[in-house]
Symmetry: C2
C-alpha cells in the first residue's frame, strides 16, 4: 500500500509542512520505501520531483523540504510496491496531457483485473502498475464523455465520481486526480481531510518534531485544505471520508460529490 497527500488553496501556498510529515513515512516512521513523487501546479505548468529512492534518504526530497515552492494545488505520493517493480516509471504521481491541460494522478490500493476490466483508448501506460493503467482508462473515459475540457468542475467531478465507483469494484481505489483547476479525490478505504482558515493556529506534525504557527504564514482570507491517507498532524479536526465517497477541492474549498 501507499500513502497519498494533496493540498488545495486559494492562494499559492507552501506545502513543505505537510510534505515533511508525509515523507517521514517513506522508510522512517512507516514502510513506504519504494519511491515517492510530488507535483506542484504553477500556472498551467507542473513542477514535478520524483525518485525511486526511499523518501527519508532522498536528496531530492530533502531539496523539496528545504525550498519554499508555492502552489495552489499539490499532489504527492509515497510508494510501497505491490504491483510493478520499484522503478522510476512506476513512481506516482503520473502525468498526462488532455485538452491542453496537464492531468496528475496518484493512487493508493490494489486493483484486480484492470487489463480485462478497463479498456484503454489512446493513453497507454509506460510502466507496469495497475495504478497507471487505471489513470489511462480514466482519461479515456473523460475523452469519450466530453469533447473538450468541461467548463464546470462540478460536472467533471460528478463524472469522475461515477468512474470511481467502477474502480472501487476492482479493489481498493483511494485516488487523487487533478487538471490543475480542481482536485478530485475518491475514498475506497482510508482518506482524511482538513480545512484551515482564519483564525489560524499552531499545527504539529504527528511523525516528526515540527510545528508551524499558520497565523504567521497566512492572511485572514487564506483557505487551505489538506488531504492525506492518515492525518498528518495531531490536535486538528481531521475528517475521515466515508468509504465509497468522492469529493472535490477547489481553491481550498471542499465539496462532496454524488
Amino acid at each position: 500500500m501507499c500513502q497519498l497527500m494533496a493540498m488545495s488553496a486559494n492562494v499559492p501556498t507552501d506545502a513543505r509542512f505537510s510534505f515533511s510529515g508525509l515523507v517521514a513515512r517513506g522508510g522512517g516512521t512507516d514502510v513506504h520505501r519504494d519511491g515517492w513523487g510530488i507535483a506542484f501546479y504553477r500556472g498551467r505548468g507542473v513542477q514535478e520531483f520524483r525518485d525511486p529512492q526511499p523518501s527519508v534518504d532522498s536528496r531530492v526530497a530533502a531539496l523539496v523540504k528545504s525550498q519554499s515552492i508555492k502552489s495552489e494545488l499539490v499532489i504527492s505520493h509515497i510508494r510501497q510496491a505491490n504491483v510493478g517493480a520499484v522503478s522510476l516509471e512506476n513512481t506516482h504521481p503520473f502525468v498526462r496531457e488532455l485538452w491542453g491541460r496537464y492531468w496528475v494522478f496518484a493512487h493508493n490500493g490494489q486493483l484486480r483485473g484492470v487489463r480485462k476490466a478497463l479498456p484503454l483508448g489512446r493513453f497507454q501506460p509506460v510502466g507496469g502498475t495497475d495504478s497507471e493503467w487505471a489513470f489511462c482508462w480514466l482519461l479515456a473515459q473523460l475523452e469519450q464523455r466530453f469533447d473538450s475540457w468541461p467548463r464546470s468542475p462540478k460536472l467533471l467531478g460528478e463524472f469522475i465520481a461515477g468512474c470511481s465507483r467502477q474502480l472501487h469494484q476492482l479493489g481498493v481505489a483511494n485516488f487523487l486526480l487533478s487538471d490543475g483547476r480542481a482536485l478530485y479525490a475518491h475514498c475506497s478505504t482510508r482518506l482524511h481531510w482538513l480545512t484551515r482558515r482564519a483564525p489560524f493556529g499552531v499545527a504539529r506534525l504527528k511523525d516528526i518534531e515540527m510545528e508551524v504557527d499558520f497565523s504567521r504564514e497566512t492572511t485572514p482570507n487564506d483557505i487551505v485544505s489538506v488531504l492525506a491517507t492518515e492525518p498528518l498532524t495531531v490536535a486538528e479536526p481531521w475528517l475521515q471520508m466515508t468509504p465509497g465517497s468522492s469529493l472535490m477541492m477547489q481553491k481550498g474549498r471542499v465539496k462532496a460529490l454524488d
Copy 2:
C-alpha cells in the same frame, strides 16, 4: 534564443560535467535566464527537473549538479524567451506519452506561423510557445505515419528528419527529440557534437573552471556522445553539424540521417 544539450551513452553515465557547463550560460557566462530543464531517461521512466528561474541562481539546478544521476539518455535546455511568457509551462524540455513511451523534446530557434502551417492531432500544447506546438505536431505526424512504435530506430529517425525539413522552412529548428531508445537531432543553424571513447583523457569546460579525467570515470568499453548548441569544452574535437542536417544517437553511437 536558447541552448540545447544532450547526452547518449552505452552505459548509465553521469551528465553533471556537461550540465554544469550548460547552466553557467543560464545567466552567468551567457544570457539564457528564462528558465531551464533537464530530463534523464532511467529505464522507461523520465526523471525531470525544471525551473522558470535562471539556472545560475536555481537551487534545483544546484541539486542536479551535486547529484550523480546516471542515465543513458539526457536532454537539457536553457531558455531565453522570445515567444511565450517566462513560466513553468513554457519551460523545455516538454514531455508526452505516445505508444507507451515518454517522448522528450527541446527546441532552440523561432518558428513562424506554426498555428497555420502545422495542424495538430490529439496532442495539444499547454503553454504558449511555438516549440511546444511543433512538438505536438511532430507527435501527430508520427501517430499518423506509424500504427505502433516502429521497431527500427533508423526508420523512425528518417521520418523525423523528413518532418524536420518542414519545420526548418518555418524558421530556426534546432531540436532534440527522444523516445528513450535513441536521440534524434536536427540542426537548422547551430549544433555541435562529440563522441568520447577509449582512450579517455581530461576534458575542461569552457564556461567555468572545471575539469574531469574521464579515464578515471569510465571503462574502456564506454562510448559517450554529447551534443550542444555551442561546444561545452575546450581542446576536444567538437564537430559542427551542417545546417539542414539530422543525426541520431543510440547508446553513444552517432549516425547521420537522410
